[in-house]
Symmetry: C2
Subunit: 271 residues, 2 copies
């Protein structure tokens, strides 16, 4: 069982930032990554639709008999985690929202925390609930930043366009005297825009990205269940629902290492 | 039969710029508009996937027994028009690419034409083929501008962010001595960004948007077949595959008039 892979899924390639953090922390683990690229983005879709897609993605990953499922997508974590936990109870299911909330609460000195995410994550309020569950008197400010997704996918991660976009989205939140001291990057696309975001919010704000804390959570669960793999390193398996070339090209940016188009298996998630 | 509606579909709400042009030119016509908002964008998806989606959308629209089908999406027009024409031959099917190409050829004095569109439309090369069919010696330059879609949907249609994005995408194409004198806005989202785009390319370039020319084509076909409706004006019918509130909010921007969320019927296009 410890030799079984860790299955990771996301609406697209953004979740590869989470896969990269897991691979870095747990280099012996086998990873299977599914990006539902035909149906991205999830962030603008309704909770019902995202939940249905998440169930289909998880079902497709079960053929690899994984020892754990990681929802490397904030929107899907925010809405589908309870359903997936109920459906696949014997396999641990980890989302990125709780680890991100935990890191934010640990980082915040003043107790005012800002969360930037997709429209779907903001509307669902999962970060607000997760932060309040840990620290009921925390003040949480949310903002949807959908353009960051497009900028990240286009690879425009520095220069005036992302800097001005970050300023437009964030300036007013961080302008007041009691402004947040911590900013949660509540979308797996956002870590690669960390430069422009940091510039817009200023040096006194701690940026929290859930990739690293999710990797730590994965490690803890494996250790608790004695499921760490010790075999030699293996290349990850990549699955996409559309356009392998685009998956490889955009995905390489998020993974931080090169993916070849022929490494991406095209699968169909139709019900 | 002349009382039957004109059915229009797009991946989302961008095609409402085409619907608005048809409504303006043909105010007596009944319009049924379907936006496949659950599966947008089409522009990053493969030709096979887009064709499958276009067939499903057209099938859903056939229950309104339309007298004409308008593909108000450049990506779908570029890849799915032949399949739809073959499948629904008795009902005329109109795309936006040919009308846009015709307008561009008519507007260009020097014969060098630039086309900006989504990745899917550019990769498919439909505009290049359509322009060369009309003017074999035309020189066509293409560029994919995916960020424009996100900017249009976010409503950031003026100010420094879209202006700098337009400059980044377009400056080099229009910098040389023999640069294009005509620019085709080959995506239904782009007309609302006409301000920043015009500023980036300069006053000597004619911008062509296929909404108006597609509306003229629709009129010509109705006249040829004696299918013009003469009854009193009726409100359009809006169908979406996800999130009616978002459809109404973003759609109002593209239609140029207010849509209420309860005017949008939620339908399922699953096969």
């Amino acid at each position: 069982m410890s030799d079984a892979p860790i299955a990771i899924f996301d609406s697209g390639v953004g979740g590869l930032t989470v896969a990269a953090a897991i691979a870095k922390r747990l280099p012996n683990e086998r990873l299977v990554y599914l990006g539902d690229t035909a149906r991205l983005p999830y962030g603008t879709k309704s909770a019902e639709t995202v939940t249905r897609y998440a169930v289909q993605a998880t079902r497709a990953l079960m053929r690899f008999e994984p020892k754990m499922i990681v929802i490397a997508c904030n929107t899907a974590s925010a809405v589908a985690l309870p359903v997936l936990t109920a459906a696949y109870g014997s396999t641990p299911v980890v989302g990125v929202v709780e680890p991100g909330a935990r890191a934010a609460v640990a980082a915040s000195r003043g107790g005012t925390i800002a969360v930037i995410a997709t429209e779907g994550t903001v509307r669902g309020g999962a970060y607000v609930r997760a932060i309040h569950a840990l620290k009921p008197d925390a003040k949480v400010v949310q903002r949807a930043c959908p353009l960051f997704v497009a900028l990240a996918e286009e690879g425009w991660t520095d220069g005036p366009v992302p800097e001005l976009a970050a300023e437009k989205y964030l300036k007013d939140i961080f302008a007041s005297a009691d402004s947040p001291d911590t900013l949660v990057l509540g979308c797996t696309h956002f870590p690669i825009l960390v430069g422009p975001i940091a510039k817009a919010v200023g040096a006194n704000v701690t940026l929290v990205d859930s990739a690293a804390t999710t990797a730590r959570e994965v490690e803890t669960i494996l250790d608790d269940r004695n499921l760490r793999r010790t075999g030699p390193n293996q290349k990850p398996t990549f699955l996409g629902t559309d356009a392998p070339e685009r998956f490889a090209r955009a995905g390489s940016l998020f993974l931080g290492s090169q993916i070849a188009p022929d490494q991406v298996e095209l699968i169909d998630l139709a019900p």
